[in-house]
């Protein structure tokens, strides 16, 4: 095979492999993605059993920890609608009322159960002054 033709074959093979890999990447991402939702969206449209990534602010005075799972409410960043979350597992250090959190949850009746180790809170270097005070 002459070198020019060989180069073309190589290029075609590499491009085919790249297209295959990219297709797999796109497919698996859409299949594995958790829908990111605010509490107000979650309250109205969450389907039981499906996982969602909930982001919002921990409601002041809502955190209860009495032996069982940690219970708290999360509200929209700029709104009042909130949902109740039950979470079992280690809580990140900066977790506190009034702080922003992101947690993967599934609907169970009227509450949302957090997946273990999915709760994350804003890195303390990124708190704004009102969060601090």
């Amino acid at each position: 095979m002459d070198p020019g033709r060989r180069r073309k074959v190589r290029l075609a093979v590499m491009l085919s492999v790249a297209v295959l890999l990219a297709s797999a990447l796109v497919y698996t991402t859409f299949a594995a993605g958790s829908q990111a939702m605010r509490p107000s969206q979650l309250a109205t449209s969450a389907v039981p059993g499906r996982s969602y990534q909930l982001s919002g602010t921990v409601v002041a005075g809502s955190v209860r920890h009495t032996g069982g799972p940690l219970a708290f409410r999360v509200r929209d960043r700029n709104g009042r609608t909130s949902v109740r979350v039950l979470y079992e597992g280690a809580v990140p250090e900066p977790f506190r009322e009034g702080r922003e959190v992101i947690v993967t949850v599934r609907r169970r009746g009227s509450v949302f159960v957090g997946e273990p180790d999915s709760l994350i809170t804003k890195c303390p270097s990124k708190f704004t002054a009102d969060e601090r005070s």
Binding site: L25, F30, A36, M37, G67, E93
Partner: protein, 752 residues
């Protein structure tokens, strides 16, 4: 003094705009005087920004609460060490740090190249000053660090307790140094394209800056991981958060660039690829900064309520489109270079390594920006978590480890098939040995990917060791030096090459640590009362008793844990939690504020190279709440002495009752290898950066000038005649071999 800050920033902006104009005019019209003037503007900018940063630092150290940023991020009780680090805990201060570091690195590179790259200097200065001007505009109009307030409060809010960690002093400056240093090769790549000077000179002149950027960014990322592991109470070191990913992406493309530029230097190939890589790295470095500032993605590291998203987006659009346009307009000049001759050659491995690194970067980019992509495609925002990232990054990481062992063993140009068994016999033997040993141990075969990683690591480490051994043996044969001396001489004269190999070893060690700690980690969350035990892995952890401590800064509640294995004492650990009093007396109560403010974990950890036993505690304060509430109701106006007494009483009650506590218990094998591997990587990179001995520098310079090599290749006074002659012979051998396929590669492409 602080009122000078805004004036200094304005003066810096004027200087930057002037310098940008002068540099461009000098470059376009061929007027060196204007180019020199532009360079002096860079120096002046560095001076002005240094003063501005020093004033901000002084305000923090003096606790000048008249400056709003100081009042919001420091206090008189914040230790001086952390007051010095507090400026970059805020949006405004971190931006000032960014542009200040950029101005310093810009000045340094322009000073070092002042007698070279004359045709590129003007364009490069314009790019660097353009970056600086953008950030200075943000500081003047959108994120002002010197906003004053009257009257000044008596006390500040203080630095968040979670940021009071030694890493706070190093981690952000390291990351920012990495980001800003990557703008240096970016600027010179743009300059080379603009000036149509597309040989390897700009690469040679900025290579050290690219390597330093890579080192700083990598070290910064690793420090962040260590900080997270040791401080944040969740026991992990990487969460695939968008901002974490954003710091990893330019590091990956930077790694690819540092490999592929060698192909351009040795073979004159991959010009389009190299210039695209360095431009992408520069854009990704700004993208990382953008993700932190914009809040466009839900990230734990993003500033809330930021107004900087749109300006950053516009800036990224300009530099991305400008870069792409420049590359496309110079394609003809970039393409006219030799192709890769053989698939079995070092440059092929470098190309594969580049494809894997860029593929890895693309996967991370796709996963990070998937919320925006999915919203654009389906109308709903969706995101992917760590399992998705692991699915792709793990196999790609495995391929990288294998390539890091294959690359050093192959020659530039071509390696003949008949040589391959001899080259790879030892590495393959080591991999097989590890496979047999691990299967014999048992339990590890359940994790096939980890098993493949350990075998690949053995292959790569043996391959590198073989390179060191062959090089030392060749030098001994030529010079008669003892083995240790020959090894040292070999490394000293080829720091870039053998430093690079050491980096490979470090990465292998690091990735073994990642594979082992993520595959064989045991985690247990347990609620225990004093006297109760929990099992994690093969260890039993018993909660012996509760502990407490009180200082002016915080109240600490903790536990004594006894760790045993098969009945044998292993360690006594003391995890605790520090509660920092909140200033919110009205909302939380006079006593409640001592227990409901910010709190931080102090881990109880037994760390070792074999495994870490990691424990954290979350005391259950619910049994104390009635007492705290009663104290708040009974003593709403308690003075500090009474406050102290009441807090002590509550703490004493905690100790007496011994209430339950939540514990997170983790046993992680080989997690220490991550930090150890990182140190080896840093050592290898520093070895590469260290200047070569003068004799080698002269000889290499001479070799690039035909006719001068032999006279300048003579030994210097004081060097042995034999050694000098041997070096010259080996250097000639090295130069004559690139396409012969002889040897394992140890003697090719580099003098000994």
């Amino acid at each position: 003094m602080t009122s000078l800050g805004p004036a200094l920033l304005s003066a810096a902006l004027v200087t930057e705009v002037y310098g940008l104009g002068a540099s461009l005019y000098g470059a376009l019209r061929g007027r060196p005087r204007w180019t020199h003037s532009g360079r002096r503007a860079v120096y002046a900018t560095a001076g002005l920004l240094t003063l501005a940063f020093a004033i901000l630092e002084a305000a923090f150290l003096r606790s000048d609460f008249g400056v709003r940023m100081v009042a919001e991020h420091s206090s008189t009780t914040t230790p001086p060490f952390y007051r010095a680090a507090a400026p970059w805990s805020a949006q405004e201060g971190s931006l000032l740090l960014w542009v200040w570091l950029l101005s310093l690195w810009s000045s340094l590179v322009l000073f070092l190249t002042r007698r070279r790259l004359r045709e590129l200097a003007g364009y490069a200065q314009a790019v660097l000053l353009g970056f600086a001007a953008f950030f200075t505009v943000l500081l003047i109009f959108l994120a002002k660090p010197f906003v004053l307030q009257h009257p000044a409060p008596m006390e500040g809010l203080g630095l968040n307790p979670l940021l009071r960690h030694p890493s706070m002093m190093i981690h952000p400056p390291m990351l920012y140094s990495g980001y800003t240093l990557f703008t240096v090769p970016f600027a010179f790549a743009v300059a080379a394209l603009a000036a149509r000077k597309l040989d390897a000179e700009w690469i040679r002149s900025t290579r050290r800056f690219a390597l330093t950027a890579w080192l700083c960014l990598g070290f910064g990322v690793l420090l962040g991981a260590r900080w997270s592991y040791a401080e944040l109470g969740w026991g992990g070191y990487w969460g695939w958060d968008p901002v974490e990913n954003a710091s990893l992406m330019p590091w990956l493309t930077g790694t690819a660039f540092l490999h592929s530029i060698q192909v351009q230097e040795k073979r004159g190939a991959l010009k389009v690829w190299n210039v695209s890589l360095v431009l992408a790295t520069g854009v990704l470095a700004v993208l990382g900064t953008f993700l932190v500032r914009s809040g466009i993605l839900d990230s734990i590291h993003a500033f809330g309520a930021s107004t900087l998203g749109k300006p950053f987006l516009a800036f990224i659009a300009v530099i991305s489109l400008g870069s792409a346009a420049l590359v496309l307009s110079r394609l003809d000049q970039l393409r006219s270079q030799p192709r890769i001759d053989s698939l079995v050659s070092r440059e092929t491995v470098f190309l594969l390594n580049n494809l894997v690194l860029v593929g890895l970067c693309f996967v991370i980019f796709w996963g990070t920006f998937f919320p925006l992509i999915s919203e654009a495609v389906t109308g709903t925002k969706a995101s992917v978590g760590p399992p998705w990232f692991d699915r792709y990054t793990t196999p790609l990481g495995l391929v990288l480890v294998l390539l890091s062992g294959v690359g050093p063993a192959l020659a530039w140009g071509r390696t003949t098939a008949s040589r391959l068994p001899r080259i790879f016999a030892a590495p393959l033997g080591a991999a097989a040995l590890v496979l047999v040993a691990l299967v014999a141990v048992g339990g590890i075969a359940r994790k096939p990917l980890a098993l493949v990683m350990f075998c690949s690591a053995a292959f790569a480490a043996t391959s590198v060791a073989q390179e060191y051994w062959l090089g030392t043996r060749a030098r001994r044969a030529l010079t008669g030096e003892p083995a240790a001396v020959a090894l040292l001489s070999l490394v000293r004269r080829n720091r870039r090459r053998y430093g690079g190999y050491l980096v490979h070893v470090g990465m292998v060690v690091l990735l073994v640590g990642v594979a082992a700690s993520s595959s064989f980690q045991h985690v247990r969350d347990a609620r225990l009362r004093p006297g109760q035990s929990a099992r994690v892995g093969s260890y039993d952890v018993r909660y012996v008793r509760a502990t407490s401590a009180r200082s002016s800064e915080k109240v600490t509640l903790g536990a004594v844990l006894e760790v045993t294995q098969h009945g044998r004492h292993v360690a006594t650990l003391r995890p605790s939690r520090g509660y920092y009093p909140s200033l919110d007396q009205a909302g939380l109560g006079r006593i409640g504020r001592f227990f409901k403010g910010d709190s931080t974990s102090e881990l109880g950890m037994r760390a070792g190279l074999g495994r870490d036993i990691w424990t954290a505690i979350q005391p259950d304060l619910s049994s104390l709440e009635p007492y705290i509430a009663r104290a708040d109701r009974s003593f709403p106006d308690a003075n500090p002495q009474l406050e102290g007494f009441l807090v002590t009483t509550v703490v004493a009650r905690y100790l007496r009752d011994g209430p339950p506590a939540e514990f997170r218990l983790i046993v992680s094998p080989l997690v220490g290898w991550i930090w150890f591997g990182g140190s080896i990587v840093a050592g290898g990179a520093l070895m590469c950066l260290w200047p070569r001995p003068r004799a080698v520098r002269i000889r290499r310079a001479a070799r690039s000038t035909p006719g001068l090599a032999q006279p300048l290749g003579r030994p210097r006074p004081g060097e042995g005649e034999t050694a000098g002659a041997a070096n010259t012979i080996v250097a000639r051998l090295a130069d004559s071999q690139p396409s012969t396929g002889r040897g394992s590669g140890f003697s090719q492409g580099s003098s000994l």
